[in-house]
Symmetry: C2
Subunit: 113 residues, 2 copies
């Protein structure tokens, strides 16, 4: 069993093209023995956003703190602490920080096989 | 894309033997089209706990609020807001509320095939 506080894991900048002011922490990953899916914690600073992109794997997201939106079919839907979001495979998406504080959320994805 | 606040989903009592003062909300599940894993939100009231049990599927847990412990190899390890826990397949575990407020956490599991 792995037990770890997210603050004990270093936050790495997300360098994917289109990401602005975003960091990632890998909380649970394949190297922990996770066979199916990984848990990551993202932080987006004010005025930042993830890339507007599309991919084969799904996302399962839970907002922990902050004020943001998610791009859904061309519009921005508001999200905040306690919002769960399922982004199916092949659906375009992007998370924006629209507040004055950090936007913090979990994002689970399938582990790479 | 599904976007929902956890409070907009009814909390159902967990009736599994050994569970005390526990509710579950299914935030993302197979019926949402999630192909690999499901997201549930549990709340344990003070003095409550999940069953002490063991099973084939893994758990990925993230503590949102409260003060608790997780049973790990016969001892109780403290957990609180921001703690991530990976419970591998086949490892005995149990979550206890050891505080005065609700213990709230996410628990992701593989969807039943």
């Amino acid at each position: 069993m792995k037990i770890i506080h997210y603050k004990d894991i270093d936050a790495a900048p997300v360098t994917v093209q289109g990401a602005e002011k975003v960091t990632i922490r890998w909380l649970i990953a394949a190297e922990d023995g996770a066979p199916g899916f990984a848990m990551r914690l993202f932080e987006i600073q004010p005025e930042g956003h993830t890339p507007l992109h599309i991919h084969d794997s799904e996302h399962e997201v839970f907002i922990l703190a902050g004020t943001g939106t998610v791009w859904k079919e061309g519009e921005e839907a508001p999200v905040g602490p306690g919002t769960a979001i399922f982004v199916p495979s092949g659906e375009k998406h992007c998370f924006f920080n629209r507040g004055k504080d950090v936007l913090r959320f979990l994002c689970m994805v399938p582990v790479e096989q």
